[in-house]
Amino acid sequence: MRDLIEKLTPRYTLGNATYQRADLTFVDVTRDELRALLLELRDKEGFTHLVLLTAVDWIEEGKFQLTYMINNREADQTLGLRLYIDRNDAEGDTIHDIWPTAATYQRELREMFGIAFPGSPRVDEEFILEGWTDMPPYRRDFDTLAYSQQTYVEREGRETHDPRATMKHKMYPEG
C-alpha cells in the first residue's frame, strides 16, 4: 500500500496517511483532486468497489470528514480517502456517475448531516426521515436525548438516588 501512496504522491496532494492494517490504509485528499483520484484508482489501480461513503463530524474543528472507502478486490486492499470539508454550508461533489450506488449514500449524507451534493439524483428528497423539521440528526450538536424528551412522552414515576449521597445521609444523618 505504501508503494501506491508513494506512486500517487507526485501527482496528487496526499496528506497524512495512516497504515491501519496491512490491508487498510487511510489517506487525506483534497477536494479538487478527489474526482481525478477516484477515477484513476478505479480504472488503473483496480479499486473498483465503493465500500462506503460516510461523514464524520469534527465539530470542534469545524469540519466534516467525508470518508470514501474503496476496495481493490483482487489485491484485497481497502483504501479510505479522507476529505475534509467546511462544516458551514457543507457541500460535496457528487460521484454518482462514477459509482451509481453513491447516490444513495449521498442522499443519506444530505439528510443526516446536511451536506449538499448538487447534481446527485433525488438527493433532496426525503430518504429515511419523514416530516423532519429539526437540524440533521447525525450532526454532533443535535442532542437526540433532549429532542426525544421534548417530543415524546416518557412513562412517569421514575426516580433514582445517588449511592454516595444516600449512604452519607445514612451514616451521618446530622450532616
Partner: protein
C-alpha cells in the same frame, strides 16, 4: 382469441430514450405501493411502483420505517454500552454486528482475543448465517407461492435458535460476542445436539431440493428473471451471494480470512446465470456449506479454555483516536463497521455498511423496470435484503 402476447394498445408513448414517458395525469399509469407491510418483503420497506397493466415501468424504494438512529445512539453510549445495541441493527442475523463492532474496538484498543473465543465467534457467525439462509429459502419460496418451504425452514431455524439459546442465553439478540471475547464456552453436550439439528436440516434441505429446485413452476418463474448484468456488480456495489450467482467468486471468508476461516477448508459456491434461480441455488449451496463449516468448527475447535480477556474497567474505558473498518462475509454479502474514535470514552462515529444498503435501493430500482408486478416480491427476496440494516 386467447393470446400469450400482452395487449399494449393502451400503453403510453415511448420517449426518445426508449423509456415510457411517465405522466401520471394521462391516467395510463397506476401508482402501486408495495409495502411497508407486505409478506413479500422481509421487514418494513416499501417500493413505489408505477405500473402499466401488470408491467412495472418504474420503481422507487422508500426506506426509513425502521430507522432508530443507531449511529447517533452509539455516539452517546460508552464502548461497552454500544455492545448490546449493535445487534439490533440487523434482526435476522444480528451476530455479524456484534462481531464487527467487537473486532473494530479490539483493533483500536489493542486487545487480544483468546483463541477459543475466535472459534466460538466463527461458530456463532456460521450459525447466524444458517438462520439467515433458512429465512431466505423460506422467503424466496414464499414469494413464489410455495409456502410449505417457509414452514419447514422456520421450523429448522427454530431448532437452531434452541442451540443459540443454550450457547448464548438468548434466541434472537444473543449479545454474546463482546469486545475481548465471548461470554462463555460451549455448554455440555452441545456438539451432539448441534449434530442432531444439522441432520434434521439436511433432511429438510433434501426435501427443498425436490420441492423447490426440481420444480417446473419455480424454474419457469426464476430462470432468466431478475437478471443482473455482472458488469454492474462493481458500480452498484453488489457483493456476496448476489455476486457469486453472477460468476464472481468473491467471499471475504476466503479472500481475506478473518477469525479462524483460514483454518477451515471450504470452496465458495459460484453460479453463472445471475438470475433469481442462480441466486437461490447459490444460497442453497452456501447453506449446505455452512452446515459443513459448523461441523468442521466443532470438530477442530479447542474447548474448555479462556474465552474472555480481562478488559480495562469498562465504566471509563477510553480508546485513543483512530479509525478502522472491519468487514466480514454475512449471508447477504460484505458487512462492515467503520469505527472512528477520538480518544474519549465514546465512539466518534460508527457507520454500519450493510449489504442490503446497496442491494435494496439503487440496484433494486435499476432492476425493477420491465418486470411483472408478481415478480417484484421474488426479485426483492432473491436479493436477500433486510431493511433494518439499511436504515439502522
Amino acid at each position: 382469441m386467447f393470446s400469450f402476447q400482452p395487449d399494449r394498445s393502451q400503453y403510453p408513448d415511448v420517449g426518445p430514450d426508449g423509456k415510457f414517458e411517465i405522466d401520471l395525469e394521462t391516467g395510463k399509469f397506476l401508482k402501486l405501493w408495495h409495502g411497508p407491510n407486505h409478506p413479500g418483503i422481509t421487514g418494513n420497506m416499501s417500493v413505489e411502483l408505477t405500473v402499466n397493466g401488470d408491467e412495472v415501468v418504474e420503481g422507487y424504494t422508500h426506506v426509513g420505517y425502521l430507522h432508530r438512529g443507531f449511529e447517533k445512539l452509539m455516539e452517546r453510549r460508552t464502548f461497552i454500552q454500544v455492545f448490546p445495541i449493535v445487534c439490533r441493527v440487523c434482526v435476522p442475523e444480528p451476530d455479524f454486528n456484534e462481531y464487527c463492532y467487537a473486532a473494530a474496538v479490539e483493533e483500536l484498543a489493542g486487545i487480544e482475543v483468546p483463541e477459543e473465543a475466535n472459534w466460538i465467534r466463527t461458530l456463532i457467525l456460521e450459525m447466524g448465517r444458517f438462520n439467515s439462509y433458512m429465512m431466505a429459502m423460506g422467503g424466496i419460496a414464499g414469494a413464489l407461492g410455495n409456502g410449505v418451504i417457509g414452514q419447514w425452514m422456520t421450523y429448522v431455524r427454530d431448532l437452531m435458535l434452541d442451540r443459540f439459546e443454550e450457547l448464548t442465553g438468548a434466541r434472537i439478540y444473543h449479545m454474546f460476542i463482546l469486545p475481548g471475547g465471548v461470554r462463555a464456552g460451549l455448554p455440555e453436550g452441545f456438539e451432539a445436539r448441534m449434530e442432531e439439528v444439522l441432520q434434521t436440516a439436511e433432511r429438510y434441505l433434501d426435501d427443498v431440493e425436490k420441492v423447490l429446485f426440481t420444480n417446473a413452476v419455480f424454474k419457469k418463474r426464476t430462470k432468466g428473471v431478475g437478471y443482473i448484468d455482472p458488469k454492474l456488480f462493481e458500480s452498484y456495489g453488489v457483493t456476496g451471494p448476489n455476486a457469486r450467482a453472477g460468476g464472481v467468486a468473491k467471499d471475504v471468508r476466503k479472500d481475506s480470512p478473518y477469525l479462524v476461516y483460514d483454518q477451515l477448508s471450504f470452496e465458495v459456491p459460484v453460479e453463472q446465470d445471475s438470475d433469481i434461480w442462480a441466486r437461490s441455488i447459490v444460497r442453497y449451496r452456501d447453506l449446505r456449506l455452512t452446515i459443513d463449516l459448523i461441523r468442521q468448527i466443532l470438530a477442530k475447535m479447542p474447548k474448555g479454555g479462556e474465552v474472555m480477556t480481562s478488559l480495562p474497567n469498562v465504566l471509563h474505558w477510553k480508546i485513543p483516536r483512530g479509525e478502522t473498518y472491519i468487514k466480514g462475509e454475512s449471508s447477504r454479502g460484505e458487512y462492515g463497521y467503520y469505527l472512528v474514535t477520538d480518544g474519549s470514552g465514546y465512539p466518534r462515529r460508527v457507520n454500519v455498511r450493510g449489504p442490503s444498503y446497496t442491494h435494496a435501493m439503487a440496484l433494486l430500482e435499476h432492476l425493477i423496470p420491465g418486470t411483472n408486478i408478481a415478480d417484484v416480491a421474488a426479485l426483492m427476496v432473491s436479493l436477500h435484503t433486510y431493511p433494518p440494516e439499511i436504515e439502522r
